[in-house]
Symmetry: none
Subunit: 404 residues, 2 copies
């Protein structure tokens, strides 16, 4: 099954609004096992809209269109799709839709004039109810089915789930698993594992929260689907071992919180370069209060001394950005908080160099982190590496990966 998505609206081309409908539909198509070939955004220009919609005719099984079903003269999607399919002579007023409109407006006259066109469809159309607004959608066409939906995201999403999904029949099933890989960057991952396979496919994604490998299997047979998916996930497991942090749909911070919660342990950080980002990324997860009570931002040298007892001699001798200072920060933090897992960061954002330190069960682990990019990016990379380290350390699996 092949599909294309169109988003119709000049305001998207002007950059005024972000098109989230296409992503929503794309995600659903993935679940439905429909192959999405392309997403296209066009404006409310009649001729260009016609050309765009026409190109899809005969080439795809499904053409999903959102936007342009409103009551104004600018709203041309239905009229244009009807022209593409040559259904102009079939147009009739749909009584049910018209009744709905009248109910909605509580005022027959208004519905009669401005909105009446929203109730007019080709005789052969399947009408899609809109329980969030005035514009009903429809499915028209035979070999290539055009599925027309309103543009406002809440209307479109409801209509898709309630009216469109039950009318789509496919045999192909698709299923993905996201594997979160610790410490390695995208190209280090691609060196270690063969990404050229197609059953299943395995692709790396560099997200702001770290790198993921997505394993995707597709099949018309459920057993084969599951077997293919398992083969891919097993390959990732065997290749990366403990560096595969989780295959569950949760963030790295969630993984860390779950580990600590299971042990009844607490975490604190003494942050210099990250300046609160580590604590903030943990606090952003519901239930963070189970594992984090307090945390410190020790940005100035004098504060590292005051709160963490970092000695001025160490700073003088090794520089404040050094493994030695990171180590003393960890000791001081542990003394101040008694937290089971103590974290520390010190670095130069403009140079992209930092040390990320972890103290756990009396043992210190300090890692040099390098990153390129603006301040924000560098701080994020340091935070991500520190979280990855922490998970591995709490699991007792870091020792083998100190050198990578």
């Amino acid at each position: 099954m092949k599909a294309i998505i169109y988003s119709v609206g000049t305001e998207i081309l002007l950059g005024s609004i972000l098109d989230t409908n296409s992503k929503f539909i794309a995600e659903r198509l993935q679940d439905l096992g429909i192959n999405l070939y392309k997403m296209v955004t066009v404006g409310d220009n009649p001729e260009r809209l016609y050309q765009a919609l026409k190109e899809a005719n005969g080439k795809y099984d499904y053409v999903f269109v959102s936007g342009g079903l409103g009551p104004t003269e600018d709203d041309l999607t239905k009229e244009t799709a009807v022209r593409v399919l040559g259904l102009e002579d079939e147009m009739v007023l749909d009584d049910d839709s018209y009744e709905e409109l009248k109910k909605y407006f509580n005022d027959e006259k208004k519905a009669m004039t401005v909105n009446k066109k929203q109730a007019i469809f080709p005789k052969s159309a399947t009408i899609l109810k809109n329980n969030q607004g005035t514009a009903p959608g429809c499915i028209i066409g035979d070999k290539t089915k055009y599925i027309l939906m309103p543009g406002p995201p809440n209307e479109m999403c409801h209509m898709f789930d309630e009216e469109v999904v039950p009318r789509i029949h496919t045999d192909l099933m698709i299923k993905s698993v996201n594997c979160k890989i610790a410490l390695l960057c995208e190209w280090e991952i691609s060196k270690r594992i063969d990404l050229s396979g197609s059953d299943p496919t395995i692709s790396p994604y560099a997200k702001t929260t770290g790198v993921e490998l997505r394993v995707t299997a597709s099949s018309t047979n459920k057993d084969h689907l599951e077997a293919s998916l398992k083969k891919g996930v097993d390959l990732v497991k065997n290749t990366f071992g403990p560096l595969l942090l989780t295959t569950e749909d949760k963030s790295r911070e969630e993984v860390l919180i779950d580990e600590l919660r299971a042990k009844g342990e607490f975490v604190s950080a003494a942050e210099s370069i990250t300046g609160g980002l580590v604590a903030s990324s943990i606090v952003d997860i519901p239930g963070a209060s189970d594992v984090l009570k307090e945390s410190y931002i020790t940005y100035a040298n004098e504060i590292k001394h005051k709160l963490l007892n970092v000695s001025y001699e160490t700073i003088e001798k090794y520089d404040v950005v050094s493994p030695e200072v990171a180590g003393e920060m960890l000791d001081g933090l542990h003394k101040a908080t008694g937290s089971d897992l103590c974290l520390a960061t010190t670095g130069y954002a403009h140079l992209g160099v930092a040390y990320a330190g972890v103290l756990y069960k009396g043992k210190k682990y300090i890692r040099k982190v390098k990153a390129k990019g603006d301040r924000n990016k560098v701080r994020r990379v340091v935070k991500n590496k520190l979280i990855d380290m922490s998970i591995l350390i709490v699991r007792g699996e870091y020792e083998d990966y100190i050198g990578i």
Copy 2:
């Protein structure tokens, strides 16, 4: 001038990530006076990518492409655009780009193998530097210019503004001023000011960092451009008074840091609901060390007591999310740090209710903040309101706006 935007990446078609690059480019094209005809998303499939890029050749002045410049075999954008333009025989290693790569990896061998292809371009290409990652971009083609940029949004946005914009020539001059408005949300702003004008246009944008009013003038005449822009900015100034925090191109945190630096003053925070987000947003600005030395995340009640001397009776009597507790947090923080500007937050993310407190020159200001949305959104709104309050308070201009 006619343009089309391509977004390349199977992960977008799978619905895994939302394409924000196209909106960013669309907004910029609007400012540049370039007509955007279409946005298209295609996957990493070589043949379909070729067909898509080929369709644009000769039809548009500018073809903007983001994504697919990475080092792996999946990354095909440059090779495909080169095929479309028939430049295969022109490919050479760009020495500057190669040196950058070597510097980045600090290891010649690594760059030689995996990433080398990122430094290979057609001889006639204009290379676009990437100061956020490894993949340089390029402009290739003659009548139709293909502008190839990396997919990660931070890399793409920087490259667009720094490397692409200066190379685009149009007659229409467009100039914008972003007016950052304190405390008011988008609809409160739109109630107060007429947004229907067209010379200049004035549009509100709700960003994750707070609301901005963008005044945009466009003209082929420089004097008219400046006059129109001034008219718009004056209207905003007269309407919002001190709530207009800045018309300069700097973030709210930068505005606050500049105010404090000028006075030689320091800021600290005691964060509960925001959990480090306030400090982190300040530390994210270069030069933050001039105004921030230390900050605390006091998430648990016992830590509010231990570090800030918040009394258990106050928590018991008023609840931990109360103006009273916020007030004691401020007092305790001032005692612990002596900072000139003390900030505190306490709230319930799941209920979207919080108190943001400021202590400055012996006076306390505590504001109830309500926000709708997920945890992350609520925490961000609390942080933004607190920064807005702080700027107004440090400027001595908050008193008139306590009630809004």
